[in-house]
Symmetry: C2
Subunit: 477 residues, 2 copies
């Protein structure tokens, strides 16, 4: 294990980088691989290499990697496939520790020559002193050391470790997560997987102390049993969310022309992944939504929800949706309803579960006591606050409370302080989407899992509660 | 039929309105029922009535409805339940044509007196000359005549007719639809349904020429067979989307304390509604999403999708999601792929379905020809353009194209002009949600169904394509 861990840990902590194939005539390559490292704050030297020796503005440029006077730890290859073999020979002589290859045109292409070249490199690279990621990949993202593959990637360090066969899914996943205030420890777009495998990367993340939650986007792999074994290792240490690309025949065809992966019989794959204890998700949205719950909620395995709402109709429909998703919305005991009636006694409020706060909605000062009373009753496992902004007539309320979104954050933070159980926010999208976003950002800042629909909240909470209940025995609770 | 139609049509076209129970001391009531009509542009006199005779600023005020000198067509009751009986006697003498009652405290409450009073009114009102909507409801919304129940409701006239047992679901539905550029012909929140029934309202909308799509939110009803019969009538004329509240035991309990409705055995209800040919949806989001497709797409029953995307990984996952939702993403024929290769020949693009445009993504000028060529091939039934903004590096692109969102609207409008089949936009939410909204609004303006996730697009398209295929035989196609 430690040999794997160290080799890959070096890869994330190089002291110098060379980008082979960079030139001012290829601004896209320069942007992706030279400017990215600089923008991410990489501290060591960043060299440009191109065969013509054309100077690349802002970076020391050499004709070959051998010409670089100092040592080079990490190489990014961005040359055409036809030149890769020759350049790898020079790279090997330079004594680098790791290579990522952006170059495409290998097993993912229609070209038999590309398939043959990939095999030739694969056989050769096993005997080399360096590790090889790709080809046909974006490579490494690590905010801690300043590695990236787009100049606009977020520089915040976080706790998600992400292993992805697809560069696109890596980029979209990083930006989607950032939209909810979630950040990454490391992400690797590993493409055609001729040397460093998804299984190795997962083992690394299982042991990486900076990583608390692991994401994997997998299309296919050479050694399925090894991948499943690595998943089991991750699951023993931290939650693992897996998105399987090519889960259908059509998706498999797309995957073949994308990373050359044989996606394999989908039902078997999906069942096997589930058996490892990983959380199998259907799309990136679910990945992000579930991660908010995993990172920000206390563990909680029970499935009894209390819904608090300002609209009777919404509370009926949200109760239906909850029960159809396998949750309970139990009636509260008579004594608890009486206790609540003592706290908020306004005509039109319904104080059984779901709580329809109606006109009582604006009695904000009473919320912490109400939420605390329900929490202590032990009759529910989690509280869902449905903040339907169209009932707050936000424009009017904003006149009264110019910083209503901040007031709401403080209010629900006070509620949460009275509770030992999870509190989740649902703010359905409405007309004034910009105003909804203003509220959402405040809640995300305070680390409330916040969802734009009950359906998305329920999918995330289902994953979270299954994970919690699976952990319960080993936690001794 | 015509007697129903006319009585209800009068209700939507009153010449004068009185709000009983309005006063300056109840700004909420004044806002909901006096200011709403004025803001919506109601042209006739709007009277305030309160027993104390306190003048209500900006409105002519009377102690009783009998004191109003001219005729009164429509009455909105907003007095406590205990006073309703006495006031209805005066209303009957005035010769009004319709009454909506906001007042609650009837069969939806725990109070046996409320149940008894509702029965008493119900029996009496059958013999009166006016129609009664409610109690426990918000009443009527009609942009054409200027009727509403919140001063901030949109004043645009549209083609959705909405019958809803819940005031909250009416309000949320109207605002959600407005957020996507969809408007209403009429909406009625009808509450406890003691006189005017959901079935009557549906029959009215079936015949209403201003209504092209009908929405219904139903918790329960006294005469289920009559309601189903009315649904069948609507379906013969126009699409009907139904959301059933209280579809679960817990939801049924919530519905009972909301509108006093006995929601009834959910599976039987759901099966019976489906058999009418109505589209049964799970939530308001699905209602709005489906309506965009029904209103803006040409009819199309086939299920073969062509996906165009800029990211290989996303295109794999979106293909999986499509197939899991019962669509096909068929491989294109070799000759069609060759034709496309002639139009866009850039390394890294995959021109089989799903189309991974990759670096070819920015060859905008070629899109209309590409989309037209695929459309004419007859190999697919609908095109889904996945516009992943994180690949457009919007900030940079905006520097190059300061009005990129407008350029994109013109571009895809040009593509649509080359096509006879539907074109749908999917723009996944990312980090810069405000920028995504800017694009979304442009596409909505041009009446492209636009969805923030593939999942939501697929649910809407599934409903739309089922509706189209069900219509196909009667259309003779």
């Amino acid at each position: 294990m430690s040999v794997y861990f160290e080799a890959l840990d070096w890869m994330f902590h190089p002291k110098s980088i060379a980008v082979i194939g960079a030139s001012d005539r290829k601004p896209h390559i320069k942007d992706l691989f030279l400017n990215s490292q600089r923008n991410m704050g990489f501290q060591g030297p960043i060299y440009a290499v191109n065969a013509g020796g054309d100077p690349v503005s802002d970076y020391p440029t050499y004709k070959t990697i051998s010409d670089i006077p100092g040592p080079v730890d990490h190489v990014i290859l961005a040359v055409p496939a036809a030149r890769v073999w020759e350049i790898l020979q020079e790279v090997a002589l330079k004594g680098v520790r790791s290579v990522t290859a952006f170059t495409s045109g290998f097993a993912e292409s229609d070209d038999p020559a590309g398939h043959a070249l990939q095999e030739k490199i694969r056989a050769w690279v096993q005997d080399q002193q360096f590790r090889f990621v790709g080809p046909n990949c974006m490579g490494l993202y690590c905010p801690e050391t300043g590695l990236g593959f787009r100049p606009d990637l977020p520089s915040e360090q976080g706790a998600i470790g992400y292993v992805s066969q697809s560069g696109g899914m890596t980029i979209t996943g990083i930006f989607m997560a950032a939209g909810k205030g979630l950040s990454f420890s490391k992400a690797v777009s590993y493409g055609n997987e001729i040397d460093v495998t998804s299984a190795e990367l997962l083992r690394y993340l299982a042991h990486d102390p900076a990583t608390e939650v692991v994401w994997a986007y997998i299309e296919g792999t050479r050694d399925g049993e090894d991948l499943l074994e690595a998943m089991r290792l991750v699951v023993r240490n931290k939650p693992l969310l897996v998105l399987k690309g090519g889960s259908t025949e059509g998706g498999g065809r797309a995957a073949a022309s994308h990373t050359g992966a044989m996606a394999g019989a989908s039902n078997i794959w999906r069942a096997a992944i589930r058996q490892t204890g990983a959380i199998l998700v259907d799309n990136l949205e679910e990945m992000v939504d579930t991660t908010m719950a995993l990172q920000w909620l206390p563990p909680g395995a029970g499935r009894r929800l209390c819904l608090a709402c300002i609209s009777g109709g919404l509370s009926v429909n949200y109760t239906d949706q909850s029960i159809q998703s396998g949750f309970e919305v139990p009636a509260l005991s008579q004594s608890l309803v009486q206790d609540l009636r003592g706290l908020i006694d306004i005509p039109g409020t319904s104080l059984n579960n779901p709580l329809d706060l109606a006109a009582g909605f604006f009695q904000f000062q009473d919320y912490p006591t109400i939420f605390g009373t329900i929490d202590r009753s032990d009759e529910i496992d989690a509280m869902v606050m449905i903040l339907a902004l169209e009932y707050m007539q936000v424009h009017d309320s904003k006149a009264k409370y110019p910083d209503l979104h901040k007031l709401m954050r403080r209010l629900f933070t006070a509620c949460r302080n009275e509770m030992s159980r999870p509190l989740i926010m649902v703010m359905p999208w409405v007309m004034a989407e910009e105003i909804r976003l203003e509220f959402e950002r405040e809640f995300l800042k305070a680390r409330f899992p916040t969802y734009p629909s009950m359906r998305r909240a329920l999918i995330a909470m289902d994953n979270w509660s299954r994970y919690s209940s699976q952990r319960a025995p080993t936690d001794g609770t």
